[in-house]
Symmetry: C2
C-alpha cells in the first residue's frame, strides 16, 4: 500500500483560502496568490490563460504524479475549482466526498462518494499500491487526520499572511506528533513534508 498524504497549500497564518471562497469564488477575495506556485507566478481567475509552474514546482508536480495512485477531495473543492473544466485532470481516479453522490456527472472521470472514510477506502483500493492524495478542503483533511488515516502531511506554504479566510486547522482538537521528512523552498512556496505517527 502507498502513502495516504494529506496535502494542501496554506498561507503563513494557516489559511487555505481567503475570505469569501466557495463555488464560483475560487480561493476567495484576492486569494489567488496562495496558488502562485501552481502557475509560475501571479495569476487571476479572470485571466484568459494561466502560466505553468516554474522549475522546482514543475519538478515537484512531475515527481508527485509519478507516485500518485488516486486523489480524494471534498465537494466544495470540486465546486470551487469549477469541476476542473468537467474533466478529471489528475490522470488517476478522483473521489469526491459528498452527501449527494447521486449528483455525480456521467462523464468527466469523477466518482462521488458519501463519507470521507468511504472515499479513502475506495481511493486506496483504486491506487494500485501508489500514493493517495487528500487534497482538501480543510474539513476533509481534518477528518482524515482525526481518523488517523493519513500517513503523511505535506503543507505547501505560500509567502503571505492573509489575515482571514478558511483556516486549515480550525476546530481541530487532536494532538499529533509528526516526524520531519524535509523542508524545501521553491521560488514561490515552501514544501514541508511530515510523517504522521
Amino acid at each position: 500500500m502507498g502513502n495516504v498524504i494529506a496535502i494542501i497549500t496554506t498561507s503563513v497564518d494557516g489559511y487555505i483560502a481567503a475570505p469569501n471562497d466557495g463555488p464560483g469564488r475560487g480561493l476567495g477575495d484576492n486569494g489567488e496568490p496562495l496558488h502562485n506556485w501552481v502557475f509560475g507566478g501571479p495569476w487571476r481567475y479572470e485571466d484568459d490563460s494561466r502560466g505553468k509552474p516554474s522549475d522546482d514546482d514543475a519538478a515537484w508536480f512531475e515527481d508527485t504524479a509519478n507516485k500518485l495512485g488516486a486523489v480524494v477531495c471534498g465537494r466544495n473543492t470540486y465546486e470551487a475549482s469549477g469541476h476542473w473544466g468537467d474533466r478529471n485532470p489528475f490522470g488517476v481516479p478522483l473521489f469526491v466526498v459528498t452527501h449527494r453522490p447521486e449528483e455525480q456527472p456521467d462523464s468527466g472521470g469523477f466518482t462521488f462518494i458519501n463519507g470521507t472514510d468511504e472515499a479513502l477506502g475506495a481511493a486506496i483500493d483504486a491506487s494500485a499500491g501508489k500514493d493517495v492524495h487528500v487534497m482538501g478542503g480543510a474539513d476533509v483533511i481534518r477528518q482524515t487526520l482525526a481518523a488517523g488515516l493519513a500517513t503523511h502531511l505535506t503543507l505547501i506554504v505560500s509567502p503571505l499572511v492573509l489575515g482571514g479566510g478558511k483556516r486549515l486547522f480550525d476546530g481541530f482538537e487532536r494532538r499529533l506528533e509528526l516526524e520531519q521528512l524535509g523542508a524545501r523552498q521553491s521560488r514561490l512556496a515552501t514544501f514541508l513534508d511530515y510523517r504522521v505517527s
Copy 2:
C-alpha cells in the same frame, strides 16, 4: 539600523503554547515539545537540568547571538519564563512590554516599558545597529506586524499538531505579502525566514 525580526516557535497548526499556558505554567499542558529544539530533545519543566541545543540549533543560536542588539518581549513571556531566573540571559538589552513599568525589578537587566511601540523604539536605540528580536508573546508579535514595524518574520516550526492553545495569528486581520529568505530544517524544527514587505 539592523533588522527588526519577529521570531517565535509555533506548532504546525500555528500555536505558540499549548492550552493553559501562563505564569508558572510555562508553555501550557504538555507544551514542552514546542521547544525541544532549544534543549536538544525532549525535556520537562520539572526536570532538574536541561539539555543543550544540538548541532544545527546550536549553530543557529550562535549566529543569531552574533547579530543581536536588543530583545523585546511581553510581560506574559517574561513571567512564563520565570523571569529567566531573574537574570537577562540574552547578553543584550531586554525590554519587557507591560502596563505596569513601575514593577521593574532593580536588578537582572530587565527594562520594563509601557507600549510595544515604545519598547521597540528603545530597543532600536539600544541595539547599536544590530538586530532587534521581538520574541513574543503572540500579542506583541501581532502588534509589531500590524504596525508595520517588523522587517522580518522568522517562524520556527516544531513537528507537532497541538490541537489547541494560544494561536500566533489569532485575531490578526492584516494582509502581509512576504518574501521568502530561506527554509532550513534541523533535527528538531524547521526555520522559515521571511522579509516583511
